[in-house]
């Protein structure tokens, strides 16, 4: 690993001492600022757990009920704090159970370090008990991975792991450590990693591209901003807001960009994509300049690429060179950290307003409000809707809660209607669409921001994929609020079956257990409601609770989420019903 040594700062710690690899791991984590990690012990990682026992004052380990829960909790923690989340597991099944969380963190650019135990070095390749090739398995779903087979490698590799996980476009890193490397003793010293010679996470912004982008923006008559999580990861929320206000540009967001700009900002025109808002989707195909900031033109955002914003000049701000021209061919690409690039372009932007253009968004919003929104959040039908539950949470939380969602109809409804007045507040599985994400992610989010209210909104399907994590909430008294929007169906799949599979409802009806009793089994305060008259007061009671609270809301069973752009259709082919 001579490559690592090349760009280190020379802040070697003054003294060295002989310690075990396992103890070294603890010191490395502490040196990286980790005070909380999630995991599950087992044979090949036991030396590390033994050290965790000794260093409980420095590092809190939370025992999740499944390793997948450990990854999602680490992700939730990372997404609200901006820090690296850490998960730990043993070899074999412990390691393979991390794969979904790794894939989720990879596609949603979440900084995470996973540490797995591995059979001792001389047993590698012998099909030993709980041996699995987790390096091979995790390669496509990690930003970087590495197998440590000697104790001496630990400080250098862990330093590199944290550096890679958090720098540039963040992502998950897996470090697999053989048991002998955990047990063997060596002279420990720790030096943080400040660079890897083959890895350039900070592309230098190109002034000519910035000027070209500014010229396009200044000359635009109908500009549209679409921002993604790159704004949050780059902590460029202020720069985005200034750009939006100075240039008077309507700004829409991808699902992961949500909360980077106050949802009540007058120029915030809503969500793009399959279940996004009518105006930004329709007007994507009318704008003259599309300014994409920290987003990656996912197919759920663009619909058919053949008809996506063909009339517009496209500017793409992104930190990842591989995203430029990947899905959509752009006219100007501005590489770099969003805070830096937006900061550079702001002085070049003329103060403007685009009132007529902005009014087109307002007109289209009115169409959507009458056709969809009003019915969703102020329903007149008997059964409760998901939309009105979200609306009540907005009211009770004053738009200031962290909202963690799972995957499906409730997720789309929550992201459409939840209001946010601060960043890093919308935690959801966007790219991978991982059911079971929300409950453990909410635990991590709450533990990362104990000062904030964290509400998990989950469907009855996804809830049962990681329901065992209620054990963590109980054991560690995590005061998280859990709302299950129960329609007794896998609602989103049911919706597709209704619309595109001639109502053949294959395996989407769920006969559910008594969720309240289950929560009670974990001694979590819980309640079930099905009447509108109980909604407001119950949500208020839940939000006021100082401890964890489980709320099951029985909602209309066969509601559909609209607007909807059918898969593969154009963004301007929005169905309102």
């Amino acid at each position: 690993m001579e490559t690592l040594k090349e760009r280190k700062t020379s802040v070697k710690s003054k003294t060295t001492l002989k310690i075990s690899g396992a103890e070294a791991i603890i010191h490395c984590l502490v040196a990286e600022g980790v005070d909380l990690l999630y995991g599950y012990p087992g044979g090949a990682i036991m030396p590390v757990y033994d050290e965790l026992y000794k260093f409980q004052d420095k590092l809190t380990h939370i025992l999740t009920r499944h390793e997948q829960g450990a990854t999602h909790a680490a992700q939730g923690y990372a997404r609200v704090t901006g820090k690296v989340g850490v998960a730990m597991a043993t070899s074999g099944p412990g390691a393979t159970n991390l794969v979904t969380g790794l894939a989720d963190a990879q596609i949603d650019s979440t900084p995470m370090v996973c540490i797995t135990g591995q059979v001792t070095r001389h047993l590698l390749g012998s099909d030993a008990f709980q041996e699995t090739d987790i390096i091979g398995i995790s390669t496509p779903v990690t930003k970087w991975n590495y197998q440590v087979t000697r104790a001496e490698e630990i400080p250098e590799i862990l330093a590199k792991a944290f550096y890679i996980a958090r720098s540039g476009r963040p992502g998950p890193v897996l470090i697999d450590i053989t048991k002998n490397a955990q047990i063997d003793e060596f002279d420990f010293s720790y030096t943080p990693c400040t660079g890897v010679r083959s890895y350039n996470p900070f592309p230098k912004p190109d002034v000519t591209q910035i000027e070209a982008a500014a010229a396009l923006i200044n000359n635009a008559k109908k500009p549209l901003i679409v921002f993604g999580q790159g704004v949050i990861l780059g902590e460029a929320e202020e720069q985005l807001k200034t750009l939006v206000e100075k240039a008077g540009i309507p700004a829409a967001w991808t699902i992961l960009g949500l909360s980077a700009l106050d949802t009540n900002h007058p120029l915030n025109v809503g969500m793009v994509g399959m279940h996004g808002n009518y105006a930004p989707n329709m007007l994507t195909n009318e704008c003259d300049v599309l300014i994409a900031i920290g987003m990656r033109f996912d197919d759920r955002v663009t619909g058919s690429l053949d008809t996506y914003a063909k009339q517009a000049k496209i500017i793409h701000f992104d930190i990842d060179p591989a995203e430029i021209n990947k899905n959509v061919k752009v006219d100007v690409a501005v590489l770099g950290n969003s805070k830096e690039t937006l900061g550079l372009i702001l002085p070049l932007i003329n103060k403007t307003e685009h009132t007529t253009w902005h009014n087109q968004f307002k007109d289209k919003y009115k169409i959507e409000f009458d056709a969809v929104i009003n019915k969703d959040i102020h329903p007149t039908k008997e059964k409760l809707t998901m939309g009105e539950v979200i609306e009540q949470i907005n009211i009770a939380s004053n738009n200031s809660a962290v909202i963690v969602t799972d995957v499906g109809q409730h997720q789309m409804i929550a992201c459409r209607y939840a209001k946010f007045n601060q960043s890093k507040s919308n935690i959801t599985s966007g790219g991978l669409g991982t059911m079971g994400f929300a409950l453990p992610a909410a635990i991590g989010a709450k533990m990362g921001r104990m000062d904030r209210e964290v509400v998990a909104i989950i469907g009855d399907g996804g809830y049962q994929m990681t329901i065992q994590e209620l054990g963590v909430i109980f054991q560690h008294k995590v005061p998280v609020k859990i709302v299950v929007l129960n329609n007794d169906h896998l609602g989103m799949v049911r919706q597709w079956q209704e619309l595109f599979f001639e109502k053949r409802y294959a395996s989407t009806v769920m006969v559910n257990p008594d969720f309240v009793k289950i929560a009670e089994g974990y001694h979590i305060k819980s309640k079930r409601i099905s009447e509108r008259s109980e909604l407001q007061s119950t949500i208020a009671e839940m939000m006021a609770s100082k401890e964890a609270y489980f709320l099951e809301v029985k909602v209309e069973k066969e509601d559909n989420v609209f607007p909807m752009i059918p898969s593969g259709a154009s963004v301007s082919e929005v169905r309102l019903k």
Binding site: T3, T139, P140, G195, V196, R197, Y199, N200, K326, K329
Partner: protein
């Protein structure tokens, strides 16, 4: 941007790392693109490895793939070139029964005409080597085939670009970033 399929040679400069080949081949696997030729060797820079990968695809895909390859932590730089921008060769070995060398006059002509070399002669067999472009190797193969080839193997393509690949200065830039 060329939308039709074409032959492209991808040259990857990287750190020498045990898992990197897996990472790089996974990029092709994910896109269902077949690797037609693969060679890994040292490069002109100490401690830097060079992958030479040949694929048959569109320019859009090869750009996408090169972007993904460059994104890998241990990759220093990746380039892609159509055939007219590189000097390239493959190498082949033919194992032939020794009797043929003595019994068939034509074999000696094939060796001479194809500029092939005799690598070794044993009691039972002899081995011919041939370096060149794919069609030159194919030509020699088709000429020898009627006489019987005991074993045949052809290497992946190796290539150098006509234009400069500025790896050393790039590495220096990284150092000073």
């Amino acid at each position: 941007m060329k939308m039709e399929n074409n032959w492209y040679t991808i040259s990857v400069y990287s750190e020498n790392n045990v898992g990197l080949l897996n990472r790089i081949s996974g990029i092709f696997l994910k896109r269902h693109i077949n690797i037609e030729g693969l060679n890994v060797s040292k490069s002109e820079i100490d401690g830097v490895s060079k992958f030479t990968i040949v694929i048959h695809t569109t320019e859009q895909w090869v750009q996408n793939i090169v972007g993904q390859i460059e994104k890998q932590i241990e990759v220093i730089k990746a380039f892609y070139h159509p055939d007219d921008e590189i000097i390239y060769q493959e190498s082949a070995l033919f194992k032939i029964s020794s009797d043929l060398l003595f019994d068939e006059r034509q074999i000696q002509n094939i060796i001479k005409d194809n500029n092939s070399q005799i690598v070794t002669v044993a009691r039972d067999f002899f081995v011919l080597s041939k370096s060149g472009k794919r069609d030159e190797i194919d030509k020699m193969h088709s000429e020898l085939e009627p006489y019987g080839i005991m074993q045949f193997v052809r290497s992946g393509r190796i290539a150098v670009s006509k234009a400069e690949m500025r790896i050393s200065s790039l590495l220096e830039e990284f150092q000073h970033n």
